[in-house]
Amino acid sequence: MRKEVITSKQAISMLILFITNGTLIFPSGVEAKKDIWIAIIAAMLLGLLFSLMYSKLLSLFPGEDLYDILINLFGRFLGKLFCVIYIWFSFNIAVFIIEDFTSFITTVTLPEMNKFIIVLFPTALCAYGLKNGIEVLGRFSELIVSTLIILVLLAYLLLTPDMDIKNLMPVFEKGISPILSGTFSLFTIPFGEIIVFTALFSSIESKDDIKKSYLWGILIGGSLVLLAKVSDILTLGIERFSQYYFPNYAAVSRIQIGEFIQRIEIISGLTFTIAGLMKLCICMLSAAKGTAKVLNIKSYRFIVVPLCLLLFDASFIFNKNIIELTNWTGTLWRYYSLPFEVILPVLIFCYALIKVKMKKKPKPSRRTAKIKKG
């Protein structure tokens, strides 16, 4: 079978969509209060650091994704155990995106809508996208990302008359600990999750492109998040910002230029939905690839539909409503995701470095390469 290849531009757009999705619309990082911009920058820097690590890891084993590397490093049994852990993590993020979708649509736009319908459409689209493979996803995100950036910039440009700089002052009002807390939560929600991309970025053509895509993706995505959060707080004030479930939606609904340009908060919903769909596809692709590897299946396409059906079911089981969802993502997720996003990656990276250094002469990926081909 032909190897699927994505360009670095497509990879960057995928990363931008991945990062901007939920972070734009949910009040994540609100712990840092008025200093949220410092927290975002800090989290972005941390994300850059981790992305350097991931790109190094991928370049140590050229042409292999996360699951190959895991099996390669830790052997069949332990490697597959780690694979299962990361399949679970990817799947978990995917479920939360579906949760976000349903909670957003049921609370904001269509309160009387059946949850079944809301879940059905993104899941079906996701299955369709995955069946077509990463190339299609890449092309789709390249096409859609410009729309998203233009819409976000336009919304905040129109919002400038309502902004008040006093809402961000004074800096360092509550000291350093809220900022650290905000950084922590912002790192775990969009920036730490880029571990998922290690399963995908092996499709990027050259080694240098991996690093480049990671860095640019995080920089652009992070700046969008920064812009959005700062504008939201400048418009709403931190007290009102923290009261809402969807502060971004509330902020954009303030836009009123004359009596003519108004009620365009659908921009907020649109960006969320587009980016959310992409993030869902990315996470599910990672999960599907991993499952295929663990079960020794040639092509992951075979496993896509069952996984999507599982996702469909899981979205009804995991969280019951938006209150549970915000409780989980706001307080517990950061600790829960820590092993997946920080501890295990660092461990794997160190182990990989040592192992590569020890057997410098022979090629490290004989055995798994066979599995992959076989």
Binding site: P111, K166, G237
Partner: protein, 415 residues
Amino acid sequence: MKTYKYLITILLIITSTLFCSCTKSYNEIESRAFILGVGMDYDTVAKQFVISAEVVEGRQGSIGAGTASKVITGRGKSVFDAVRNMITTYGKKLYWGHAKIIIINGGLAENNIFEVLDWVNRDQEVRDDMRVLFTTKNTAKQIIETRKDENIITSTVIHDMMINQGSVSSYPKLDLWEFLYDMSTPGIEPIGALIELNSYEKGTLKIGGTAVFQGNKMKGELGETQSKTLLFIRDKISGGLININKEQTKVDSNITYEIFKSKTKIIPTYINGSVSIVVDVNTQVGVAESSEDLDFTNNATIKKLEKCLETELVEEIQTLVSQVQRQYESDIFGFGREINVHMPNEWAKLKNDWHKNFSNLDVRANVHVTITGSALTGKPLRAGDNIYEYNTCYSILYPYRLYGNKAFTKKYQTS
């Protein structure tokens, strides 16, 4: 193959559009009643909320198509209960997306404004760019039922009054979100516009004055002139008139100024070692009307007028601030917020007992007025040699103006 693909695409678009509309949230326009304005009262005897909503519906008839509005009322144990109970009398479900104004009874506001605003803030259909108004002299129901004839939609009239507030400035223009922002932000307290029935003309309304809040409770009212001063301090003034009486001016003339542009800075500083506030107003006005003939091209006159207006404004600001400090202990000017922004360390000390600290705050005003013009005429009307001819013409229109005029009496006494 190509036609096949083409057909599939078309089919997809058609089916997707069909699916878009056929949701459960689908509504016919006739099945919903569109609310334009809402008034909220509390019936203390029955212990019920009384919500009166102005509903607008399209009308077709032999006379011509148009819109007509009617007021419907609902009662209930909570605001939402009352809103839902409207169905039991009116039949249709209400649509809140177009609601423009919300009028809240003063009694309700004095008790706990939060009872009312929570639902408005929480509900997904109600938008928070409604204008908030308060009424103390009448009930909200009376206000919303007032109309001169049946073609008038009261809510739109009130909405227009609020939109054109900029050229009157005798009441604050507040969206609901601004009110809620003031309520939730430390160091600033909410205000609201007051509305009442116009006692001079039946069937009309009058907006004027400000309701003063402390947290979620209404504390009192400010008059129209005071409201203007309040807007000066809050830097929300964009127009309006200032009347100066003859007694206050040194040039012996009643003068009306129009405010063109105004910028206020609230500067927290240390005076004598304690935190004080300097209200720095920079305003541009024009002479709009003068009861006596003055030469506005004369620089000395202009300087004198500016000086006099400055002292007048300083006095007004200081009087208002000390009155609010004494009477309401409510920081409606946002001094606390400014201290928070510019002196975070001081604010940490002051914020715990801010109401008390606010009433002891030393506030000074510093006003700078520039008179930028005097509309179309600069030279006095009656100057020069034509004074008698002019006066005789003028006397036809305004005969009373001639009495007390020295030239006039002189001329007619001699003849």
